[in-house]
């Protein structure tokens, strides 16, 4: 297993290096002049513009800039943003915000998707199945920004009806909140509910369909029929033989999706004012801030690699044959 893990990681290294080079060149060359707006401000002298060019290494060829970046990254230094902020703490701060948002949402989504998918498969063509299918397609096809806006509106209406603010629509917490442990956590959870619900509804819609399809396939397999014929209890057939095998494709999808979503739930973060990875990328691309984009890419690429690996490992756990293979 260790050798397998190391082999998979080793294969990923050239992919990350190649993608970092391609993205660096693309951002550095196709992003236009990062100082264009500065040039238009009255009173900004050519000397100041030249100074900024030097400070940002824009006076150097792209390949040299990439070389500087690689040299720094090897030393653990992700450089500074165009606004002179150290990228590493900036990145970790944003990653922390995104993690808070997506870990909770993903856990809830997985649990709900599993339950809905399994029940819908077991009770195929029942009212529950039709209802779950209908809702899954509704949420799956719904634009995220629209769903987020609707939830925000509903949350505010509920608050007004209650005469108390339970749901929050901006940011991760109330600034300068006074109060004890429970006040602070109630506030944090209040901020988490609506953005999480947005992600949950979208993710759950897709994953429950995977779960249902996978479960249906497994339930019709020969070995399930054999197990039933041997008198194994329904619950044991369903959970030990059925669900365990049906989870394999779902785990793969969830793991890859989770790795990707760590790169930022851009729209949800924007609509609810969370300063996470998604906003970081959008803002950095807007000004051609190549160090920030590169750092984002590194982390996101690593997350995708790691969670792909996690998927492979879980795959082996769920289906021992793959380990032997």
């Amino acid at each position: 297993m260790l050798a397998f893990t190391l082999r998979r990681l080793a294969v990923s290294i050239p992919v990350v290096i190649a993608s970092s080079f391609i993205v660096f060149v693309l951002v550095a060359t196709a992003g236009g002049d990062p100082l264009a707006d500065l040039r238009l401000r009255p009173g900004v002298t050519e000397e100041v513009i030249e100074l900024r060019r030097q400070q940002l290494n824009l006076d150097k060829p792209v390949l040299e800039r990439y070389g500087i970046w690689v040299k720094d990254v090897v030393r653990g230094d992700l450089g500074r943003s165009f606004t002179n902020e150290e990228v590493r703490p900036l990145l970790f701060r944003r990653l922390g915000v995104t993690l808070r948002l997506v870990v909770f949402a993903t856990l809830v989504s997985v649990l709900l998707a599993m339950v809905i998918g399994v029940v819908a498969a077991v009770k195929q063509y029942s009212r529950f199945d039709y209802a779950a299918t209908f809702l899954a397609f509704v949420f799956f096809s719904m634009p995220v920004f629209w769903l987020a806006a609707v939830l925000r509106d509903v949350g505010i209406r509920v608050n007004r009806r209650l005469g108390e603010r339970v749901f929050f629509v901006a940011g991760e917490q109330t600034p300068n909140l006074a109060g004890g442990f429970f006040t602070v956590w109630a506030d944090r959870i209040g901020h988490l509910i609506l953005p999480s619900l947005t992600l949950v509804l979208i993710q759950m819609a897709a994953w429950s369909r995977f779960q249902r399809a996978s479960m249906l396939e497994v339930l019709n397999a020969d070995y399930i029929r054999t197990a039933r014929a041997k008198g194994v209890s329904s619950a044991r057939v369903l959970f030990r033989h059925g669900l365990r095998n049906a989870l394999i494709p779902v785990v793969t999808v969830v793991a890859i999706d989770f790795g990707l979503v760590l790169g930022g739930a851009v729209i949800t973060e924007t609509v609810f004012g969370w300063a996470g990875m998604g906003r970081l990328l959008v803002d950095a691309l807007g000004v051609g801030d190549v160090n920030v984009v590169q750092a984002w890419l590194l982390v996101t690429a690593m997350m995708v690699v790691v969670f792909n690996l996690v998927a492979d490992l879980l795959y082996g756990f769920l289906d021992p044959r793959t380990r032997r293979g």
């Binding site: 264009a36 100041v48 030097q54 902020e85 629509v169």
Partner: protein, 570 residues
């Protein structure tokens, strides 16, 4: 302590996002009502949160790196500066000054500033001439002054370059320290815009000089000290900046304990954030739908006021057809500016009107309407102008000359529903004339600055935002050597005229000259001014009192020391 205010000029500063242009002027009469009348009684204490779109990158707004309108709003509470603009666009010295700056000599042109005796930083160091001198040293254009200004934080190497967002005025003067609280600037030529100098909050020199990074980056993490009504309490990056009262402030004591600048990057969510009382004051871009929505919210006061921001239609002179004056005239005759005002601006206020001047806006006494020739849509005159230039109407209803159709690409930065609607109205009007307009909008990461500088447009709609510097504003937009002259209009007569205006000391004469230049611009038509628009929609929870809009860069924060909760507020 503080001298009387004069109706003079709209004070403003350089903005990261503003494309700055002509603004205001006036006579010397003191007029009432500038501060919005008597202040209402309020409770002591409380807090208010504002929804800010952008987060500062540091605190020294005088550097090009940090220069940002949102930061200006924060730092005008924290650091001292010379003059502030009032809602009626007059200016007055801030409590940092002991009175008006005075011209003490006309040859050489010398201006003297006196700092308030009681002005101190919150570490008990007096606000002194050294603070002002540090600004002058950093912004006088001598970027590399031969001596290290700081140590680079990463390499430990000496840094000699100075990053200043604007050298205007500092680069043509010499600084003289008279004493701790008095200093003078002597100018090479008469410098009529001296009240705009030191108009951005200035950093504490005694701390900044010793700080790693110095002027350029020494204030990246903190303002280090306060000499304003508030001081920094907390910067939670990506979330909010909180200001709390500065107990050492010598000026009027603020009512509110804290002002919070919450970073909420998506302006379309600001109204909901206000509705949910997570922020108590917002100032989103003016959109009719949003304005209507805000007006229906209970417990919320909203208003939109016309200021120095004006929309205009720009022509690209690099387009060989648009370089023909008759084509530009045909477009000017062919569009119905009054209808655009009625459709797009009247929903905000009945005071909306067509703009017929590029140097002054309608609410300034110097304003003269010079665009009367193009006041009404006149298709006959438009087609006559095209035919005079040799254009012939084609079978498709579009005029053409030498096989080249009068077909132009119009561009706006999206999303901006107001401008998108405007370009559709223009498209329809010009189709009626026989001019084809193709809508080809752009979005971030492109910006108005980038598209403008690249000249990648035929017709272009955006807004200039005024500052007090009507002369330098005019130079910036229309001088042939200016980078902000996106359309590449060039007329030596204008270039000479605006330089002449820059040397006229008398405000009345200077205004006359600027109006004269505007008439020249109406003849040349480098662009067509359309209308003033509100800089934003001011909306706040009505349990707060004394919040008064101010369309200058000072913004509605201009009197935040007076803000407070009404006694009846829960």
């Amino acid at each position: 302590m503080v001298g009387g205010r004069r109706r003079k000029a709209l004070l403003g500063t350089l903005l990261a996002v503003s494309l700055v242009a002509a603004a205001c002027g006036g006579d010397d009469e003191d007029e009432g009502g500038a501060t919005g009348g008597e202040t209402e009684e309020v409770r002591e204490g409380g807090s208010i949160a504002y929804a800010a779109e952008q987060e500062p990158t540091g605190f020294n707004n005088l550097t090009s790196k940090d220069n940002l309108l949102e930061l200006r709003h924060i730092m005008q509470h924290v650091w001292p500066y010379s003059y502030r603009a009032l809602p009626d666009l007059s200016v007055e010295p801030t409590p940092a000054l002991a009175g008006e700056a005075e011209v003490v000599s006309e040859s050489p042109f010398t201006v003297e500033w006196k700092i308030a005796e009681e002005a101190i930083w919150d570490d008990d160091t007096p606000v002194s001439s050294d603070d002002f001198e540090w600004v002058w040293l950093s912004c006088n254009g001598k970027i590399d002054q031969g001596e290290p200004t700081a140590k680079d934080e990463d390499t430990g190497q000496d840094v000699t370059g100075l990053d200043c967002a604007s050298t205007a005025g500092y680069d043509v003067s010499t600084f003289e320290k008279v004493d701790e609280k008095t200093f003078r600037l002597a100018f090479e030529e008469p410098y009529v815009e001296y009240e705009g100098l030191f108009g951005d909050p200035l950093p504490p020199a005694h701390l900044g000089k010793a700080q790693p990074g110095g002027w350029n980056t020494g204030f990246d993490a903190s303002p280090l000290a306060s000499a304003g009504p508030y001081k920094l309490k907390e910067w939670a990056k990506g979330a909010h900046i909180t200001l709390e009262r500065n107990p050492k402030y010598w000026g009027p004591e603020p009512n509110l304990d804290t002002i919070v600048f919450r970073q909420i990057p998506d302006p379309s969510t600001h109204a909901d954030t206000l509705r949910n009382d997570e922020v108590q004051i917002i100032y989103p871009q003016p959109q009719v739908d949003l304005f209507e929505q805000l007006r229906t919210l209970s417990g919320v006061h909203s208003e939109a006021n016309f200021g120095p921001a004006w929309e205009h239609l720009d022509f690209n002179f690099k387009n060989e057809l648009l370089a023909v004056k008759e084509v530009r005239q045909a477009i000017a005759y062919g569009i119905d500016r009054d209808r655009y005002v009625a459709t797009l601006m009247k929903p905000f206020s009945d005071e909306a009107s067509r703009l017929d001047n590029r140097m002054f806006v309608t609410n300034q006494p110097e304003y003269e309407a010079h665009g009367q020739e193009y006041a009404k849509r006149d298709v006959a005159k438009a087609t006559a102008a095209l035919e005079k230039a040799g254009f012939v109407k084609g079978g498709d209803g579009i005029y053409a000359k030498d096989g080249k159709r009068a077909s132009f690409r119009i561009r706006v930065l999206q999303p901006n529903p107001l401008r998108e609607q405007l370009e559709q109205l223009i498209q329809a009007d010009l189709k009626g004339v026989g001019i084809d307009v193709r809508i080809d909008n752009f979005a971030a990461p492109d910006s108005i600055g980038k598209i403008g500088a690249s000249g990648d447009f035929d017709l272009f709609i955006f807004a200039w935002v005024g500052t007090p510097f009507e002369v330098s504003g005019g130079q910036q937009i229309f001088s042939s050597d200016s980078d902000s002259n996106f359309g590449k209009y060039a007329n030596p007569e204008f270039d000479a005229g605006i330089k002449e205006a820059a040397a006229i000391l008398d405000e009345g004469e200077r205004a006359d000259k600027l109006n004269e230049l505007d008439e020249l611009l109406w003849e040349d038509l480098p662009n067509i001014p359309l209308f003033q628009k509100p800089a934003g929609v001011l909306a706040y929870q009505d349990r707060y009192a004394n919040i008064i809009d101010n369309t200058s860069t000072e913004s509605f924060f201009w009197n935040s020391v007076n803000w407070g909760l009404k006694p009846s507020a829960q």
